[in-house]
């Protein structure tokens, strides 16, 4: 996180030293865009707060851990597509579930959809890609995530058990 701030500060400084006018233009552009997407962001944060409260990690763990096999994969992919969870919460959760004996392929379906498919980020993605392309992109990513989960199930010898 700190590297991100340092990088931004350094980039800004170099830009400022090279051209004042261009830097001001960049600042204006950044402010204008940020304000433009703020309503969509606020909505996403509302949806996130509501879902994470109604579906806390214990409930997510319960949902994912209930079924193994292909039904477990489908449920995990559904949960992963809907909830919005940063990696530093999702991976420790997956690690704990793994120790409880949840198959790798179920956890793969969960983490992969979590990273690639965004139901909650729909209001934001729609602003950039439009409705139909957003739906199409998410459907494709969901398929890719399912294939990846299947590959993991096959190579870990969990498929068809």
């Amino acid at each position: 996180m700190i590297y991100f701030y340092v990088t931004t500060a350094a980039a800004l400084l170099i830009s400022l030293m090279t051209s004042r006018a261009k830097t001001i233009a960049a600042l204006n552009l950044a402010a204008k865009r940020l304000l433009g997407i703020l309503p969509a962001f606020a909505a996403i944060m509302v949806l996130f707060s509501v879902t994470i409260t109604l579906l806390p990690r214990e409930v997510v763990a319960e949902l994912i851990g209930r079924e193994s096999g292909w039904l477990g994969v489908v449920i995990a992919a559904g949960v992963g597509s809907i909830v919005f969870m940063p990696g530093f919460i999702a991976f420790p959760l997956s690690g704990a579930l793994l120790e409880q004996g949840i198959p790798y392929m179920v956890l793969a379906a969960f983490t992969t959809t979590l990273m690639m498919v965004g139901v909650l980020t729909y209001p934001l993605e729609r602003k950039y890609f439009g409705r139909s392309v957003t739906l199409l992109r998410n459907a494709i990513s969901l398929l890719i995530a399912l294939v990846a989960a299947m590959a993991i199930g096959l190579l870990f010898g969990e498929w068809g058990q």
Binding site: M1, F4, Y5, T7, T8, A11, L12, S15, K22, A25, A26, L27, L29, A30, R33, L34, I37, P39, F41, A42, A43, M45, V46, F48, S49, I52, T53, L54, F84, P86, G87, F91, G95, Y104, L107, A108, T111, T112, M115, M116, G118, T121, P123, L124, E125, K127, Y128, F129, G130, L136, R137, I140, S141, I144, A145, V147, A148, I152, L155, F156
Partner: protein, 174 residues
């Protein structure tokens, strides 16, 4: 629905949520209070991240030449462009929500659509901080299989989607 109406609905959702949280605190409704607290901490996290991210994107827009992006990521840049975009996505911070504005800037600078979609998907597949975390918890075998299965599919699907949409003269908004 016009863009204004949609913005209004989003705002209404946020304001409605604010009223709900305020009411929850006044009548001591625990789930509502919890939602409010989560919202507060999320807003703080985002406020630390968003201005920096948008500033970097704007600096990219102002300084990087269109020809550079067109040459390496535009039409006729071939398969190697996917390698570049994978590297770029690997170094990204944040989740999907930050991948969209970056993808949009790439599109504006002349990256072809396949590359733009590949960026969004790669940001979910191979962000380096995420990979290191994942492999330490799930093991290297897990990460390796997941990436080996998804990377070719992302390239294939993005290229197909990009070609199909370019054929229909689709453009990224904003």
């Amino acid at each position: 629905m016009t863009e204004k109406t949609k913005q209004f609905i989003l705002l209404l959702l946020t304001v409605g949520f604010g009223v709900f949280v305020a009411a929850s605190f006044s009548v001591d409704f625990e789930p509502g209070q919890q939602m409010g607290r989560t919202f507060g901490s999320t807003v703080l996290t985002f406020l630390g991240l968003l201005p920096c991210a948008f500033l970097l994107i704007a600096l990219f827009d102002v300084w990087v030449k269109r020809e550079t992006i067109e040459r390496h990521l535009g039409h006729g840049s071939g398969l190697r462009a996917y390698g570049w975009i994978m590297l770029l996505a690997g170094m990204t911070v944040g989740g999907l929500y930050l991948a969209f504005p970056v993808a949009c800037s790439l599109a504006k600078k002349g990256a072809r659509l396949g590359i733009v979609f590949a960026y969004v998907n790669f940001a979910g597949v191979c962000r380096i901080p995420m990979i290191t975390f994942e492999s330490s918890v799930m093991g290297w075998k897990f990460t390796a299989i997941r990436m080996a299965a998804s990377i070719p599919l992302v390239v294939l699907a993005s290229e197909l989607l990009g070609r199909c949409l370019e054929h229909r003269r689709y453009v990224v908004k904003q």
